[in-house]
């Protein structure tokens, strides 16, 4: 029957549900079947909701036909879900059941979507391989000996393995784009302030973004339309009206100018990665776009700036975990988290504030200027997401400096606040996914989604499936 309904896009699923080709319950059971088959090997979830509970929720939906009626989804475990365990990947919140809903979660609920589980992640968002977790480490569906990426590794793996049609991840320095790229799915880091952070357990307040992860750009557009917008509970959300991302998606990109920052193709970046991104650029040229070279000189210093800004803010954001009102004691932080807290505490401390934190705020201005200058010459930028395909377990986590450097291509977009869409652009010889990212000016999600959509009409990397 409908074994393959889990491969349908969101648009197709909604159409079929509306036409009653299958019911919500049948759809969710199909995903649950995949979870049953693959979760033992993939470990994409920290918490899975009970099947009965899910069915009960769907029955309650019968009387409300909404935008996402009955579509299942999962959330990175950093999102606050009332009465459903929320851990942010850390033992400190083991068993924690919050008493309110994150705004992004509430919006999806209000639109009829059904939560089926919370995804594994690097604790507190601290990492790019999801190995810094107190729970089971998620595995890459394309190669179970390799990482799914991070910190939203579980979310990426769940989408790639057809366990959910979409998930909400969180991107502070690449945490949506990195795993999307390693797992051959599509993920969007939004403009800072486009989507509410209320109820997203904070890593670095000025860098955190809430974003969708799914199998295609079109799916991303569906979810973004629902979750974007000003929230009175988050003072940093933008009052800019939310465009109709779906309606304008198929505008062609003829004569758009694509900038290629030369610093995104450094020594140390895997040759196959570079090749696949250059191949993608050729496709864009075929689609009518023009390519030009630009420069973002500060992306290297961006690593140092990020590893001052983010730890500083996280050292403060994690101070509330004192074990008094909730959670367990602070000795349960992982070593990687303690390292980041200490870097941040040191960078903010008396005598060092100017040289470190304040300096990184100035570096931020220069990084913003670099992107602004580049966008004077072009409508969007394209480059790789990760310098390498997915590493094996243990390769990066043991070397903190190597770990830092592996984020070089994704950190500066968070520092500048600009949006970036990660999507598949090929595979290595050995079958590992390679991803690229399309970056735009602040609030240019429409432009980069159009470019991504056009690319996905002309290619089928995003339709490939892992062998599970």
């Amino acid at each position: 029957m409908k074994n393959d309904i889990t491969e349908l896009t969101i648009k197709e699923l909604l159409n079929s549900l509306a036409k009653k080709e299958f019911s919500s319950i049948e759809l969710i059971d199909a995903y649950l079947k995949n979870i049953n088959s693959f979760e033992e090997n993939i470990k994409a979830f920290i918490t899975l909701l009970d099947r009965e509970e899910i069915h009960a929720k769907i029955k309650n939906l019968k009387f409300k036909i909404k935008n996402l009626s009955g579509l299942p989804f999962s959330l990175k475990d950093a999102y606050i879900t009332q009465d459903t365990t929320t851990t942010a990947g850390s033992k400190i919140l083991d068993g924690y059941k919050p008493k309110y809903n994150a705004t992004v979660y509430q919006k999806l609920l209000d639109n009829g979507a059904v939560l089926i589980g919370k995804n594994s992640q690097d604790a507190w968002g601290h990492g790019s391989t999801s190995e810094n977790t107190d729970y089971d480490i998620p595995r890459n569906p394309y190669d179970l000996n390799r990482v799914a990426g991070g910190s939203s590794g579980g979310s990426a793996a769940a989408v790639a393995a057809n366990m959910v049609p979409f998930a909400i991840g969180e991107d502070t320095g690449g945490s949506i784009r990195n795993p999307a790229s390693f797992c051959n799915i599509t993920g969007l880091k939004v403009t800072y302030g486009r989507v509410s952070r209320y109820g997203a357990i904070a890593y670095a307040s000025s860098l955190d973004t809430v974003g969708p992860m799914a199998k295609s750009v079109e799916d991303i557009a569906y979810i973004l339309s629902i979750i974007a917008g000003k929230d009175p509970y988050d003072a940093t959300t933008s009052p800019n009206p939310v465009p109709n991302y779906i309606e304008n998606l198929s505008r062609d990109i003829k004569n758009k100018i694509i900038g290629v920052p030369k610093e995104f193709f450094q020594d140390g970046t895997d040759k196959e990665v570079i090749q696949k991104v250059r191949d993608a650029l050729k496709i864009f040229e075929k689609l009518g776009a023009n390519i030009c070279e630009v420069s973002i000189p500060s992306i290297d210093i961006g690593v140092a700036a990020y590893y001052l800004l983010a730890p500083s803010e996280t050292s403060s954001n994690l101070a509330r975990y004192d074990g008094i009102r909730f959670g367990h004691s602070r000795d349960k932080f992982t070593q990687e988290t303690m390292r980041r807290i200490m870097i941040g505490t040191y960078a903010l401390s008396a005598g060092y504030y100017d040289a470190y934190y304040k300096k990184s705020l100035k570096a931020r201005t220069l990084i913003i200027n670099d992107y602004n200058n580049a966008f004077k010459k072009c409508d969007m930028l394209i480059g790789p997401v990760n310098p390498t395909p997915a590493p094996k377990f243990g390769e990066l986590i043991s070397d903190p400096v190597q770990l830092m450097l592996s984020d070089v291509y994704t950190l500066t977009q968070n520092i500048a606040g600009i949006p970036s869409l990660a999507l598949p652009c090929g595979f290595t010889e050995s079958g590992l996914p390679i991803g690229m990212q399309i970056m735009g000016k602040m609030f240019s999600e429409e432009t980069i989604l159009q470019a991504g959509f056009a690319y996905q009409q002309a290619t089928d990397w995003h339709k490939r499936k892992p062998k599970l």
């Binding site: 933008s238 140092a304 870097i343 300096k359 705020l361 100035k362 931020r364 220069l366 913003i368 400096v401």
Partner: protein
């Protein structure tokens, strides 16, 4: 300043400020990790920021307020408030006796 050399004493002081209980073994591992991290992070000193102002917020937003109104929607009942902890007593959170006044 060569702040990449972090003495054990300094590391202990930072851990105290950050309220991180660490044992001896963890101290020395973290000391090494912090030193190598800062060796890298110190690259930022080479950046010429003499003409740059600080950017704390990328939104450019200003004057975002809420009206002075009571919002019952988010109010937690006493039970909900206390639900995250097992150390409670007659409606209060309970901790070991504190003698310092802040």
């Amino acid at each position: 300043m060569d702040t990449s050399r972090l003495s054990i004493d300094l590391v202990k002081k930072i851990a105290e400020l950050a309220k991180l209980p660490l044992d001896e073994k963890n101290f020395s591992i973290l000391q090494k990790q912090l030193e190598s991290s800062f060796t890298y992070i110190n690259k930022i000193q080479s950046l010429d920021t003499s003409n740059a102002r600080e950017t704390s917020q990328v939104t450019g937003l200003e004057n975002i307020f809420r009206e002075d109104e009571v919002n019952k929607k988010r109010n937690l009942t006493q039970q909900e408030s206390l639900s995250g902890s097992t150390a409670i007593y007659k409606g209060y959170f309970k901790v070991k006796a504190i003698f310092d006044e802040e």
